[in-house]
């Protein structure tokens, strides 16, 4: 598959365009001016801690919450004030919300029956949707007779059977155990690619967002802090919040001077950042122990993680740095109190934006 040329990509209007969406509950501003675009066939993850407003954004897209301001446009159709049933955006709920009094087949055919489709047509579509999620053998079971993963797949089949313009997923894997969750995530990604469905997924799990999404919006206190492809978000978080949320171990105070960063009295070569005090984000595995020039420190604690050793290193200015080193056979673990010198590749050091 060839990727579309930039000019062509610009021609295609986004599947979903959200502009300046706001919502408050009483005095609490749940969502404050959120704007984003979703390309046709793309998956966008709304990632953030609980209470950050990500679910409220999803519920506004679905039509279950009324925005105070802003607009939601789905395929050039303004759906901001439409009732949920007129939006053609199918939602998969965290609890799956399967209808307990209907069989799997009846659940999956629900949206088609509501649309008064012919019986034969419903049967064909239900059979196809069930085949897609490998539940053909379970068509006549009731939801209570299914495992968690099967319930999840039923909910997914029910959502895609209506061929919606937009698929909405609210923490869809929250109730599954770890192994099943990973299997289901990959399965969902494949399904989504096969059907080319524009999808918005809400999650608090950064790994899940990384696996599923082609773009991730990190939401904090009702605002989008960063909207980037997963790799960029992982490598170059823009704010301390995003860095912490993406699991960056070291967020350190340093001094920027335009073409370098001074950390613990020693300079590291980084070509970014406006001069002045700044904060930098560096992953534990990005630091290496070197013999030459670098940031001096002392080992404060060592934890053997099996394949790696995690060191806590105290710098001369008192800051604590986490350093993860591959454990090589024959090499002794560094001892507490050892003097070490740290170095990191310029690429792996991210100068964070100053807090707004």
């Amino acid at each position: 598959m060839t990727s579309p040329t930039p000019a062509k990509a610009q021609e295609r209007s986004p599947a979903l365009r959200i502009s300046d969406l706001t919502k408050s509950y009483g005095d609490m501003m749940a969502v404050r001016g959120v704007s984003l675009d979703l390309a046709p066939g793309g998956i966008l993850a709304l990632l953030g801690p609980s209470g950050c407003g990500k679910t409220t954004i999803l519920r506004m897209i679905a039509g279950f919450a009324e925005p105070d301001g802003g607009s939601i446009v789905l395929h050039d159709r303004d759906i901001t004030n439409l009732p949920p049933e007129k939006r053609n955006a199918a939602m998969v709920f965290q609890s799956y919300a399967l209808f307990p009094h209907m069989t799997v087949a009846e659940n999956v055919g629900y949206g088609l029956k509501i649309r008064k489709m012919a019986k034969a047509e419903i049967e064909t579509r239900v059979a196809n949707a069930l085949k897609l999620v490998r539940l053909d053998a379970f068509a006549h079971r009731y939801p209570s007779e299914l495992s968690g993963g099967q319930q999840q797949r039923t909910a997914l089949a029910r959502a895609v059977a209506t061929e919606p313009d937009l698929l909405l997923l609210d923490e869809p894997f929250g109730a599954l155990d770890q192994n099943l969750r990973e299997a289901m995530q990959i399965e969902l990604r494949k399904l989504q690619e096969t059907l080319g469905l524009a999808t918005v997924i809400v999650t608090h799990d950064q790994q899940e967002a990384m696996i599923l999404a082609d773009r991730i919006a990190v939401v904090n206190q009702g605002r989008i802090e960063q909207l980037s492809p997963p790799a960029e978000l992982y490598d170059h978080p823009r704010t301390a919040f995003v860095a912490e949320f993406m699991g960056v171990e070291n967020i350190l105070d340093a001094d920027c001077d335009g073409d370098g960063v001074t950390l613990g009295g020693s300079r590291l070569p980084v070509g970014r950042g406006t001069p002045g005090p700044c904060r930098i984000a560096v992953r534990a595995e990005a630091f290496t122990f070197v013999d030459g020039v670098g940031v001096p420190g002392r080992i404060a604690y060592a934890t053997n993680l099996g394949g790696r050793v995690l060191y806590e290193v105290t710098l001369s200015d008192g800051q604590m740095v986490k350093v993860s080193e591959q454990r090589a056979p024959g090499r002794a673990t560094r001892a507490t109190g050892d003097a070490v010198t740290l170095q990191a590749a310029p690429d792996s050091i991210t100068v964070l934006e100053r807090a707004a």
Binding site: F64, P84, A90, S95, A97, P100, Y110, I114, E145, T162
Partner: protein
């Protein structure tokens, strides 16, 4: 070892239940005796004459039939009035509305039967506000009490809190996300209710209706006070039998017959409920 105290604790309950059951058995026993004429006493030998007499009496047969039909009507009206109230209480986003309904029902619940019966007399009487309104609109006054209408409306009012509060729990137990799921898959508010919430509430609806029917069929006070002697429900007939002729054995026989007839619809509804809970039984919600 750990079961011992639990088993022991059940005996006081069994004793209390036994007292009530023995009272019923004594009543059944009395129904087989016959009155010593001119007294309130009764004597043997035991026979089924009182039952045969009751079945032979057109008055008793008519009252039994009327009571069953009227109770079913009252139950139906209670469902019509009570379901929307229970649904609103379970689902309305407005605290004010939910609390208003709850408060009204609880006040109804707590005010005694006599109070309410006389309140209805005032409200529905020929000089009451309802008739005032009817007259103001240019119609003739209507008789709203001392007939079936007054009895039915007062009994529905009496039963409504029991019905609504029973059904409320059942509707609340149906996750609201099910309706949201229905709507996000294309169902309107009404379709979501009709295809999801309504069928899922049927077991609770049957329980609540069972309670309503039981309360309706055992009505005594409201027919007495608001029926004007024209509405003879079976409990009133039994009461009259004791009051007018002190004929306890015949009254007891009538009560036993009434009990059996009252149990038939209850057993039927229970059977339906049993089937439904088997259908919905395994659900994890």
């Amino acid at each position: 070892m750990r079961q011992t105290p639990v088993l022991w604790l059940i005996w006081p309950l069994v004793a209390v239940m036994a007292v009530f059951f023995l009272a019923l058995l004594r009543f059944a026993d009395v129904s087989l005796l016959h009155q010593i004429p001119g007294t309130a006493m009764f004597e043997g030998p035991r026979h089924l004459g009182n039952y045969a007499d009751t079945f032979a009496s057109p008055l008793a047969r008519q009252a039994l039939l009327d009571t069953l039909v009227l109770s079913l009507e009252i139950t139906a009206l209670t469902i019509l009035a009570g379901y929307p109230l229970a649904y609103l209480m379970a689902r309305s986003p407005s605290d004010v509305l939910r609390n208003a309904i709850f408060f009204t029902l609880i006040v109804t619940f707590l005010s005694g039967g006599i109070t309410r019966a006389y309140a209805w007399m005032l409200v529905l009487g020929t000089t009451g506000p309802v008739n005032g309104l009817i007259q103001a609109m240019g119609f003739e006054r209507v008789r709203l009490i001392n007939n079936q209408f007054g009895v039915v409306i007062s009994i529905v009012h009496f039963i409504l809190p029991f019905f609504v509060l029973t059904l409320l729990g059942a509707i609340k137990n149906i996750p609201a996300t099910l309706e949201e799921a229905a709507r996000s898959h294309g169902a309107s508010r009404w379709e979501a209710f009709r295809t999801v919430t309504l069928p899922l509430s049927v077991p609770g609806l049957v329980s609540a209706s069972l309670l309503a029917f039981t309360l309706a069929i055992s009505s005594f006070l409201f027919p007495l006070l608001l029926g004007g002697g024209r509405v003879q429900m079976f409990a009133n007939l039994i009461y009259d039998r004791i009051q007018s002729s002190f004929d306890m054995p015949t009254a007891a026989a009538m009560a036993m017959i009434f009990l059996i007839f009252a149990l038939i619809p209850i057993a039927l509804l229970n059977l339906i409920r049993g089937r439904l809970s088997r259908r919905f039984g395994g659900t994890r919600r």
